[in-house]
């Protein structure tokens, strides 16, 4: 976002400063759950008193909760699985969507409009709603309880295709013509012209895709059985719930912290890019 543009929006004029005060108050409320998670994760006394809910940190913070969380569940393995799932999905998505986006942006072929609308259906009919038949398909393909089974329904992406098609359309067609004269083939065009020139859209899509699949729960819960194949969300959920007993809130807080920390760190580092990517994605 450009600062020049911002200047056009004098803050006080759009929202009275009372509104701004309200937003500050809400922002405080917004981070309270995180605050509690942090404080509770480092709190030594798990059950002693009713002060478990206190947001004031203890004088003697402890790592005991983290140790117990780390030992109770194989978080390292869950991380690897989640990374593999997010990475695998993204890689395949980039291939399928660039090909499709190029076709929709630059090629003319029979049924193009119909196919485009067929693609768009997936914007709404997200795989999760179809979880029952999808689970059956995954099992029939022999992908039950595999990471590939978790990934497969997401390999085609209407959203990504749509986003990339728009980006491709802004690229001057003269570039392509010049390359064609030099003897380039379609894959050269996509790899060396379209993709490099669509980096912002690609990045925006990548961030959204990774965030979505990092956070996904229900589908991997259905597909995965073996603990070795569990992603973070499923690992965390099985870890936070027992059948007949009490829960160790400090350990749960520590486990939750372990799960979300990488994304929070990533966000802290790439904050601006993150937010801009999300913003860019919003522009249809």
């Amino acid at each position: 976002m450009s600062r020049g543009r911002d200047a056009a929006l004098p803050q006080g004029e759009i929202t009275p400063w009372i509104g701004f005060g309200l937003v500050v108050a809400l922002a405080l409320a917004w981070c309270t759950p995180f605050l509690w998670m942090l404080v509770a994760a480092f709190r030594p006394d798990r059950f002693g008193s009713s002060a478990m809910a206190s947001l004031i940190p203890d004088y003697a913070p402890t790592l005991a909760n983290f140790v117990e969380a780390w030992e109770s569940a194989d978080f390292a393995r869950y991380y690897l699985n989640t990374i593999a799932i997010c990475g695998g999905i993204l890689l395949v998505q980039i291939v399928t969507m660039s090909l499709a986006a190029y076709a929709f942006a630059r090629l003319k072929f029979p049924g193009r409009n119909l196919l485009f609308h067929l693609f768009l259906i997936q914007l709404m009919l997200v795989p999760i709603v179809l979880l029952v038949p999808n689970l059956r398909t995954v099992a029939q393909l022999g992908l039950y309880d595999t990471l590939a089974g978790v990934m497969a329904p997401y390999f085609a992406t209407a959203f990504g295709t749509f986003l990339m098609r728009q980006a491709f359309q802004t690229i001057p067609v003269e570039l392509e013509e010049a390359a064609l004269i030099d003897g380039a083939r379609w894959w050269d065009l996509i790899r060396h012209i379209y993709l490099p020139l669509s980096k912002p859209a690609l990045l925006a899509f990548s961030i959204i895709s990774v965030t979505a699949h990092w956070n996904e729960f229900l589908w991997p819960l259905m597909v995965i059985n073996s603990p070795d194949n569990r992603p973070l969300t499923v690992g965390l959920a099985t870890f936070t719930r027992g059948a007949e007993g009490a829960q160790a809130w400090g350990v749960i807080a520590a486990g939750t912290f372990l799960v979300i920390a990488p994304l929070l760190i990533g966000f802290a580092v790439f904050q601006r890019r993150f937010i801009n990517s999300f913003m860019a994605s919003g522009l249809k």
């Binding site: 059950f47 569940a73 590939a148 059985n225 027992g242 059948a243 007993g245 009490a246 829960q247």
Partner: protein
């Protein structure tokens, strides 16, 4: 890209094959699905136990697979069966066996028991009699009891003294329970700072606690012989439901609305409730975390002392090859023998289903040190089978929804039990029509 993925998968497979090496060819690899009843620590205890099993049985490699709660373990097991990858053994909530047998998903152990030179009766004789009904369906043995529980009354000794109650003389019947709970409830103005009693009423837990009240009220809940009948619209159920409702709305000694199991124990441990009805399976957790003296007692009765059993049995899905089936059976018998049974009991608080466990010296010593665990076992003399029907989870939910509505003041007990009966009959109907109501055609 797909090729790349495929290659990657093949490489992983190859590496795995190389790593396990030639020795793996003669080893039988099996999986054990298990839920964790209390907290993460037990998952580690289970891993320790299976490690020991693998060391003692060089021809078998068993992998423990933690599958969440009891309900989730059922779901995961069914999913694995459907996907053609059944585990060789599952620690299954004991009341799901009937349903699994009706759906034809688990195998009877009869041939394996005979191969070991025992009759079914001889084999089952090693377990407490109260556990037999949930393990045997149609005279066939489908489950081997692994860890079992009953509901138990936990109470805070400090709170009893403070309220002028005798901690050595806990409430024995519903009348005394109400009286004690009234004294134990503390208020600041309109705000309750300490509840007299709490009991969980969330899905799964609520039905079990309600069954304890129904049984204490002389009731049966379900037909132990036939999976198509439940007795929801009955005086014993109505009385139990009304009693629980009165604790909330009339005597105001129990918080309103649905209470979740973890919320109840957290509340008890933080001193915000003086008594609670909870599983014996939480004994170790409470013992380790209570910062105050506590005691346990039988579930107070109205008509008779009676509680349902809870906990889990080991079962084996159908569709296993012979080697895995035998290896699974080896694991099951090893885990349920007196020594391991007793060890697991001490680690969790569940009682050991194998009577032999209580003859061992370490168990006798443990019970001498922990009188609370002894009371849990004494109550076993009054224990009865856990409700188990066709589609147990759905039939259970039928009354749990009504119970939650009653505890929230949305419904009167009388209309609630009638509605629950109607809903349950509807769920049971397909099975009933194929069995009890499938009559010879008359010409």
């Amino acid at each position: 890209m797909r090729q790349f993925l495929l290659k990657g998968a093949m490489a992983t497979l190859l590496a795995a094959a190389l790593a396990t090496g030639a020795a793996a060819q003669t080893k039988t690899e099996i999986e054990l699905f298990f839920p964790v009843p209390v907290d993460g620590k037990l998952a580690r205890d289970m891993t320790t136990m299976i490690k020991e099993f693998n060391e003692k049985h060089p021809d078998i490699v068993a992998t423990p697979v933690y599958t969440g709660s009891y309900d989730e373990t059922l779901i995961k097991t069914r999913a694995a069966i459907k996907a053609g990858k059944p585990p060789a053994a599952v620690i299954m909530s004991a009341n799901f066996l009937t349903d699994l047998v009706i759906e034809g998903e688990i195998a009877a152990f009869d041939d394996l028991i005979q191969a070991s030179g025992k009759t079914n009766d001889q084999f089952m004789a090693q377990f407490f009699p109260a556990l037999h009904a949930n393990a045997i369906v149609d005279r066939k043995v489908y489950g081997v009891p692994f860890h079992n529980s009953t509901p138990l009354l936990y109470y805070n000794v400090d709170h009893f003294r403070e309220a002028g109650l005798d901690p050595d003389n806990p409430p024995k019947n519903w009348q005394e329970l109400i009286a004690a709970a009234k004294k134990l409830t503390k208020r600041e103005g309109d705000r309750v700072t300490r509840w007299g009693i709490m009991a969980p009423s969330n899905y799964d837990y609520g039905g079990w606690i309600l069954q304890a009240l129904v049984m204490s009220n002389g009731g049966r809940w379900f037909n132990e012989e036939y999976g198509g009948e439940v007795y929801y619209d009955t005086p014993s159920m109505l009385g139990a439901m009304t009693f629980w409702s009165d604790l909330v709305h009339k005597h105001k000694v129990h918080p309103a609305g649905e209470q979740k199991g973890p919320g109840v124990s957290t509340s008890f441990l933080s001193g915000q409730s003086a008594m609670m009805l909870l599983s014996t399976g939480s004994l170790t957790h409470i013992r380790d975390n209570a910062k105050f003296p506590y005691k346990v007692a039988f579930v107070p009765m109205n008509v008779r002392n009676a509680v349902p059993i809870g906990g889990a049995s080991l079962v084996q899905p159908k569709g296993l090859d012979e080697a895995k089936r035998k290896a699974g059976w080896t694991l099951i018998t090893w885990m349920t023998a007196p020594e391991k049974s007793g060890w697991w009991s001490r680690a969790t608080g569940y009682f050991a289903p194998n009577k032999g466990a209580y003859e061992l010296a370490e168990m006798k010593e443990f019970l001498a040190k922990n009188p609370d665990a002894r009371i849990a076992i004494e109550q076993l003399a009054y224990a009865k089978p856990w409700f188990a029907t066709y589609k147990t989870v759905a039939v259970r939910k039928a009354i749990e929804d009504e119970l939650q509505a009653v505890l929230s003041g949305k419904k009167q007990p009388k209309e609630a039990v009638a509605a629950a009966q109607k809903a349950a009959d509807e769920i049971l109907r397909p099975y009933v029509e194929q069995t009890a109501l499938k009559l010879p055609a008359t010409n």
